[in-house]
């Protein structure tokens, strides 16, 4: 029995000199895998128009029904998106969302994507309902790797 005790002690001693597995989070951040599903983003085309055409496919695909879309007709003179319609209201309840990524798969124009941000916080439940203001990127090249991911997919030829 004593032999086993010493073997256990030896194993633990060997472990104690190994490199630590812990990530010292606020100072050190791990690099996320390319397919990481974090906070949603609504993307733009290169010319600055919104990708979202207000088709509500994302809301239909969502298993927890956390997406609410209200579409509006585009003004041909000053279009918001490239289609006939655009999303006048686009809301996601981020507390309800399970980050499954079905909305991203359902989207025909690659408008909604799950980005790499995971540090969003608020002090009330109401504030976790993200509207277009929070979701829409400011410039087309704001998140280049996400834009690229969708440009490469080439699924948008019919728009």
């Amino acid at each position: 029995m004593l032999g086993e005790v010493f073997r256990g002690l030896w194993v633990t001693i060997k472990h104690s000199v190994r490199a630590r597995e812990t990530v010292q989070y606020p100072e050190v951040r791990e690099e996320l895998p390319p397919g990481y599903r974090g906070l949603h983003k609504l993307l733009l085309w290169e010319d600055g128009l919104e990708r979202c055409v207000g088709c509500k496919l994302c809301a239909a695909a969502c298993p927890v029904e956390c997406i609410f879309v209200e579409s509006g007709e585009n003004n041909p003179a000053r279009p918001v998106s490239k289609g006939e319609r655009y999303a006048r209201v686009y809301e996601i309840n981020e507390l309800r969302c399970i980050f499954c990524g079905y909305c991203e798969e359902a989207c025909p124009v690659g408008a909604i994507v799950l980005g790499g941000e995971y540090e969003f916080r608020a002090d009330s439940r109401q504030k976790f309902i993200y509207g277009k203001r929070d979701l829409l990127v400011k410039r087309p090249d704001e998140i280049p790797e996400l834009q690229r991911r969708y440009n490469e997919k080439k699924l948008l030829t019919y728009v």
């Binding site: 005790v5 256990g8 002690l9 194993v11 633990t12 001693i13 472990h15 104690s16 190994r18 490199a19 630590r20 597995e21 812990t22 010292q24």
Partner: protein, 327 residues
């Protein structure tokens, strides 16, 4: 009144230091565990997490004290104190340094030099069992009762071997006083004369302080918290401190009996003493991180059928050697 002042200062310093070290042992335990488990452990509160015990203490003080509705309230509240007071008082007879001269007074660095010192420690550790048993009973709950029964049966069984394993050293030095025993180790520590006694003592020490592999009284996987399951807030903290104080006291006894107490080259005696205690504590923590728990029948069989006969054998062999040396 100088002697009274000296006594009061000694008591305050010794017990303050004991409680502080006990609190910091929780930090050390978590760091050692983390070391073995390829983690860092607490390192956020203060440099290297050194303020963690203080933060924990403050947190526990502000926690609500939950008392089970069917509990025996009086016993429930005095039980933690019944564990802590003997644990603290037992340290009184342990010398933690050579006599020093301060402001013209010669001061022995021991709170009380009792000539039956080691028996005094055993007596207090025997009293300390009541805190565990009564706390377990007063909670009026299943797990604590089981834990309390286990604890007391275990402590009584292993106390015999614990005492027997020290008997060899007592026979060699011819005294029960810890001061005399340290004085007897001028040339070499007694571990060279009593290797078996040392090993037996360390094993019994683990059982006496409810440490792995003998931590059945608080086996988390089967008894949740054992005897302190129903305790919260400062009551729990008192149990926790008492446990660490017991560990420190027994480590100090082991250092005194086998490793020459505060004797050591180069460094000041108090520091040597501290180093020896911390070395024992590190071993306890390391062992806890490495070994599984014994089954209860294994525990009892090991105590009565292995440790006790070995301890008696050690006493007999020592007696024969002393007789041969004398004649």
């Amino acid at each position: 009144m100088a002697w009274l002042a000296i006594i009061i200062i000694k008591v305050v310093v010794a017990f303050g230091a004991l409680l502080l070290i006990a609190a910091y042992m929780s930090w050390m335990e978590r760091r050692v565990f983390a070391l073995v488990q390829v983690r860092y452990g607490p390192n956020r509160v203060g440099p290297a997490g050194l303020l963690q015990p203080i933060a924990d203490g403050i947190k526990l003080m502000f926690k609500e004290t939950v008392v089970p509705s069917q509990a025996d309230k009086f016993v429930f509240f005095i039980a933690p104190a019944l564990t802590l007071i003997p644990a603290l008082a037992a340290f009184a007879v342990v010398p933690f340094g050579d006599a020093v001269t301060l402001f013209g007074h010669k001061i022995d660095l021991v709170v009380a030099d009792v000539n039956v010192g080691i028996l005094y420690i055993f007596a207090l550790s025997g009293i300390g069992i009541y805190g565990v048993v009564l706390g377990a009973w007063a909670s009026n709950s299943k797990y604590p009762l089981m834990g309390g029964l286990r604890a007391s049966a275990q402590l009584i069984s292993y106390e015999l071997s614990l005492g027997m394993s020290l008997l060899g050293v007592v026979m060699i030095s011819g005294s029960l006083s810890l001061k005399d025993i340290i004085a007897g180790q001028v040339d070499y520590p007694f571990i060279f004369l009593q290797p078996l006694g040392f090993i037996l003592f360390v094993v019994c020490m683990l059982a006496e302080t409810n440490r792995t592999p003998f931590d059945l009284p608080e086996a988390e996987s089967e008894l949740t918290g054992g005897f302190h399951t129903e305790y919260s807030s400062m009551n729990f903290a008192v149990y926790f401190l008492a446990e660490y104080c017991n560990m420190i006291t027994l480590s100090a006894v082991a250092a005194t009996f086998f490793l020459g107490g505060w004797r050591g080259p180069f460094l000041p005696p108090v520091l040597w003493f501290l180093i020896k205690i911390i070395a024992f504590m590190f071993f306890f923590m390391w062992l806890r991180a490495s070994s599984p728990r014994l089954r209860y029948d294994q525990l009892m069989a090991f105590g009565w059928k292995v440790l006790l006969p070995l301890a008696i054998l050690n006493v007999v062999v020592t007696a024969v050697f002393i007789y041969l040396m004398d004649s």
